[in-house]
């Protein structure tokens, strides 16, 4: 598989260098790391959603043989200060509470109250069971529609309101006129439920404070080791270079491991106080209970539409439930991305958008693969609802409104300038892959037999996160005396195959065998600073840095070779690590020859040539890079049981020039199935008292192999304005799939008069919707 712009390595489905160690059990995940003298931590957590802590008592726990310390909030207080993350900035320190342990009150069921440190994990858990925490329950804030006006019950009393963030809509008389004059105004409320990232490996870290070095070393299952370092250095008021963060293999993150969380802070502070290494490995129930939730939001949208189905304008009122200790960009800023991307791939000339993010006494919201993806859920459902209201075909309505190549550059209603995208083409490719017209005939025939089939689309544009601290990435490239190549980057790949894709770029541009490259990441003492792997940034920014260091290195190598071969650098070429005179392959030197000269015999270099072979670069992202895709899915709904079976699933993706098509398709597939799981199976449920009901894999249902369709792919390759022409696409699968599945189910049942607006859509909800429609 390759595209027309494929090179020797770029564009090829190169097999991954990560795989041999991971396939044989020789990866190094956080729980595989053991440090001499290491202690183990377990947390005592609140079993109430909201309450006052009346009394705590650690006497019995502390008496357990092997328990070293039981620490409450008050015990940690003297040893840390408020900290901040680079993406939010220093100013946000006090904007949102973030205390490592609950202090005087608890704010969600699962809120950590104490950390127990012991000789083994088992003893730490034994100790945790014996810690007495007496909580006086308070009424929890759970109803997101009432939270904003609640002045009595506050999730964070010191904030003074349950409103975490707000976007106001400016008065827009022009839009009012559009709505007043529009032949059709269609309004609907769309709800998305709480579902979560669920990496197969939970959170975990080892913190080791060595006061006599002095150095704080943290081994962390993170997506952003440099951010862990900055966060902890700020928290403990240590100089940044006295903190070293090491990241080995990480068992998935999907956004949940992008930011340092409260338990991790407590572990670091505990090590700092005790002067001993402390390890914490989150178990599955803790991960489901407290690692961070996502997706729970709803909106009421109105679309003004003309007789032909052309969208004239839209109004949206959006509400996000961000729980208690939400991570700022996903929490108080929950509405920002939803607003900016709501117009998506369509020409929606005018938009009014207001949003509130509200605190509740539930687990806080963290980023999860496309944290703003509700824009696609909302918009794509609305497009189908509008089509149905007008009696139009949903594919046709998309064709009428989609941004076409001839419209580019196109400025969206929210001010984003679209260039180098192909939404119209991806819509057509997806329709062709799924066999739209044939399916409509099949659907009609099935209905005769009282079988209910449906088809749905999810069409979107996907931005890479490049704002503020996310804008740049660095790379260092070294060729050592043996002629082998070491690529050192600030990335934090944890499944994205970066180790392979960055080597592809360097091998292509330097001209060395790919096997001669070793990739190093995940050690803040060695690697250039990076904001972390997330936000679909790697292919656009990290790849730019990798390309730049390779191009610079090639120049260095050719210059040295030219001097040694008494030739002009322009007459030389590099292939497979051999530098030869064009047209005369007999006159050649190996990379090793060049490296030996550069290091071991610098006297043989031309005067003024820098000895050694080292290059470094920092790449800056373009202001906006968008990929685009269209998902198309067909389903059959069993109207007796409410069971949904996904029949076929096709994705047309345009992520520009592909570095590794196999990896691109792997990223699409993973995201698609997360979205399918979200709509059909996954639901993080709280009861009316704020007790979580889904804290095991028996209750929180992930899709298995038996539930997934075979995914079909189509690729478009509109080059981006990045050095390699690549675009980010890691989040898209999870952005487009929920809308496609919901629309397909709604399409299947529309003929029965069933209205589908909300998720999840498990058998229970489908049967309820059928009953509500009198079926």
């Amino acid at each position: 598989m390759s595209d027309a712009s494929a090179g020797r390595y770029i564009g090829q489905s190169v097999r991954r260098f990560e795989d041999p160690r991971l396939l044989t059990g020789h990866g190094t995940y956080i729980d595989d790391v053991a440090v001499p003298g290491m202690l183990h931590a377990a947390f005592v957590r609140s079993s109430f959603a909201h309450g006052r802590i009346r009394r705590v008592d650690s006497t019995e726990a502390a008496a357990v043989d092997g328990v070293v310390a039981v620490l409450f909030a008050a015990d940690l207080a003297a040893n840390y200060q408020p900290t901040w993350s680079s993406i939010i900035g220093r100013a946000a320190v006090s904007a949102q509470p973030l205390r490592p342990l609950a202090d005087q009150d608890v704010r969600f069921a699962g809120d950590p109250v104490a950390i127990v440190v012991a000789r083994s994990r088992h003893i730490a858990e034994d100790g945790a069971e014996l810690v007495e925490v007496d909580i006086e329950p308070l009424p929890p804030v759970l109803d997101v529609t009432a939270a904003g006006n609640d002045r009595l019950n506050l999730v964070h009393p010191e904030v003074g309101t349950n409103v975490a963030g707000k976007l106001a809509a400016d008065p827009d008389p022009e839009l009012d006129e559009i709505f007043a004059a529009a032949p059709h105004v269609i309004t609907e409320t769309i709800r998305q439920h709480r579902y979560i990232a669920v990496p197969m490996e939970g959170r975990g870290l080892i913190a080791s404070w060595e006061p006599h070095v002095p150095q704080l070393t943290i081994w962390s299952a993170t997506q952003a080791p440099h951010e862990v370092r900055s966060w902890c250095a700020r928290m403990l008021d240590l100089p940044e270079h006295r903190v070293r963060v090491l990241m080995g293999d990480v068992g998935g993150g999907f956004g949940q491991k992008m930011f340092t969380t409260r338990e991790e802070m407590a572990v670091v502070i505990a090590s700092y106080q005790l002067g001993r290494p402390v390890k914490w490995i989150e178990d599955r129930s803790e991960n489901l209970l407290a690692a961070g939730h996502a997706r729970e939001e709803h909106a009421t949208a109105s679309m003004a539409v003309d007789h032909d189905g052309r969208i004239l304008g839209a109004r949206v009122t959006h509400t996000a439930n961000v729980g208690s200790y939400s991570i700022p960009p996903a929490g108080n800023g929950a509405g920002v991305g939803v607003k900016n991307l709501f117009p998506g791939p369509y020409k929606i000339p005018r938009l009014s958008f207001e949003s509130e993010a509200l605190y509740t006494n539930t687990c806080g919201r963290t980023p999860y693969r496309g944290p703003w993806m509700f824009e696609t859920v909302l918009r794509e459902q609305m497009v189908d609802i509008v089509a149905r209201a007008l009696g139009k075909d949903p594919l046709e309505l998309r064709r009428i409104n989609v941004v076409r190549s001839a419209d580019l550059p196109y400025t969206s209603a929210t001010g984003l300038v679209y260039e180098r995208i192909s939404p119209a083409e991806s819509l057509e490719q997806a329709a062709e892959l799924i066999g739209y017209e044939d399916f409509r005939r099949e659907q009609a025939a099935a209905r005769e037999k009282e079988r209910y089939l449906g088809i749905g689309f999810g069409l979107y544009v996907e931005p890479s996160q490049t704002g503020g601290s996310m804008a740049s990435e660095g790379a260092i490239l070294r060729i050592d005396p043996g002629g082998t190549v070491t690529l050192i980057m600030g990335t934090a790949s944890h499944g994205q195959s970066t180790e392979t894709t960055m080597a592809q770029i360097v091998a292509e541009h330097l001209g060395c065998p790919i096997e001669d490259i070793v990739f190093i990441q995940g050690d803040t003492a060695l690697t250039p600073w990076g904001p972390g792997t997330g936000g679909s940034r790697t292919a656009i920014i990290a790849a730019g840095a990798a390309q730049e260091v390779a191009v610079q290195m090639r120049v260095k190598v050719l210059n040295i070779a030219a001097h040694l071969l008494e030739a002009s650098p322009h007459d030389l070429e590099i292939s497979d690590g051999v530098i030869s005179v064009k047209g005369d392959p007999a006159i050649a030197l190996s990379l090793r020859d060049i490296a030996e000269a550069a290091y071991l015999s610098p006297g043989t270099l031309a005067p003024g040539t820098e000895p050694g072979l080292l290059t470094q670069a920092r790449s800056l992202a373009p202001p906006l890079t968008l990929s685009n895709a269209c998902h198309a899915c067909t389903v059959e709904v069993d109207v007796r049981t409410g069971r949904v079976r996904v029949l076929r699933y096709a994705v047309s993706e345009d992520c520009g020039r592909m570095i590794n098509p196999m990896v691109v398709e792997g990223q699409i597939a993973g995201g698609v199935v997360q979205g399918l799981g979200g709509v059909l199976y996954e639901h993080m449920i709280y009861d009316d008292d704020g007790n979580p009901l889904t804290t095991t894999f028996l209750d929180y249902l992930l899709p298995t192999a038996a539930e997934v369709p075979e995914i079909e792919y189509g690729h478009l390759t509109t080059p981006a304005n990045t050095p390699g022409g690549f675009k980010g696409m890691g989040e898209g699968g999870a952005i487009g799939s929920p809308a496609a599945v919901v629309n397909a189910i709604a399409d299947a049942l529309a003929c029965l008069g069933v209205r589908i607006t909300d998720q999840p859509l498990g058998p229970e909800q489908i049967v309820a919707a059928l009953e509500a429609a009198g079926v």
Binding site: L22, H122, G251, F254, S497, A669, G671, L698, A705, G733
Partner: protein, 161 residues
């Protein structure tokens, strides 16, 4: 503390330990014998990341007490490959078909697939999905994994004898 002696043949090597009765097989493999390729994804028997072979059967090492494995033959991911080193057919097909991304669930899946194909070298698609349904993966959407099993079965079928 209630401790017992445990002796088992692990990846062809006899190993002994004195272990707390409450420890699981996964605990002992990982913490006593440092065979950390066996991963714990849920510790309640659903995700399958901790799957190992005990006397030729795929079992969840988080649900089995270590002392229950006394006298047994245990094969972990570290021992599933050819003795000469390198990758087994199943492992090679996982790499070829991109059947892993973060790799955390992979050891359990490789063991489950090895057990499936040992039992049924030419599974139907339905049997493949059934055989995989006890292992959770969050990265791949199972696409590459399903392709890897098909490719491994095809390779077995193509092999002479």
């Amino acid at each position: 503390m209630n401790e017992r002696d445990l002796t088992a043949t692990v990846n062809g090597v006899q190993r002994s330990a004195r272990v707390e009765a409450r420890l699981t097989l996964a605990d002992v493999l990982r913490d006593c014998w440092r065979l950390t390729g066996t991963h714990l994804g849920c510790e309640h028997g659903v995700c399958g990341a901790c799957t190992v072979m005990v006397d030729g059967l795929a079992v969840r090492s988080c649900l089995m007490l270590a002392i229950q494995a006394d006298g047994c033959e245990v094969t972990t991911i570290e021992g599933i490959g050819p003795e000469s080193g390198g990758l087994s057919l199943v492992q090679r097909m996982f790499q070829q078909e991109h059947g892993l991304q973060c790799g955390f669930c992979t050891p359990g899946l490789v063991i489950s697939v090895a057990a499936l194909l040992a039992d049924n070298p030419s599974p139907t698609d339905e049997e493949i999905l059934d055989g995989l349904s006890g292992n959770l993966c969050r990265c791949t959407g199972y696409q590459g994994i399903i392709h890897a099993v098909r490719a491994a079965a095809a390779a077995i079928a193509g092999e002479p004898g």
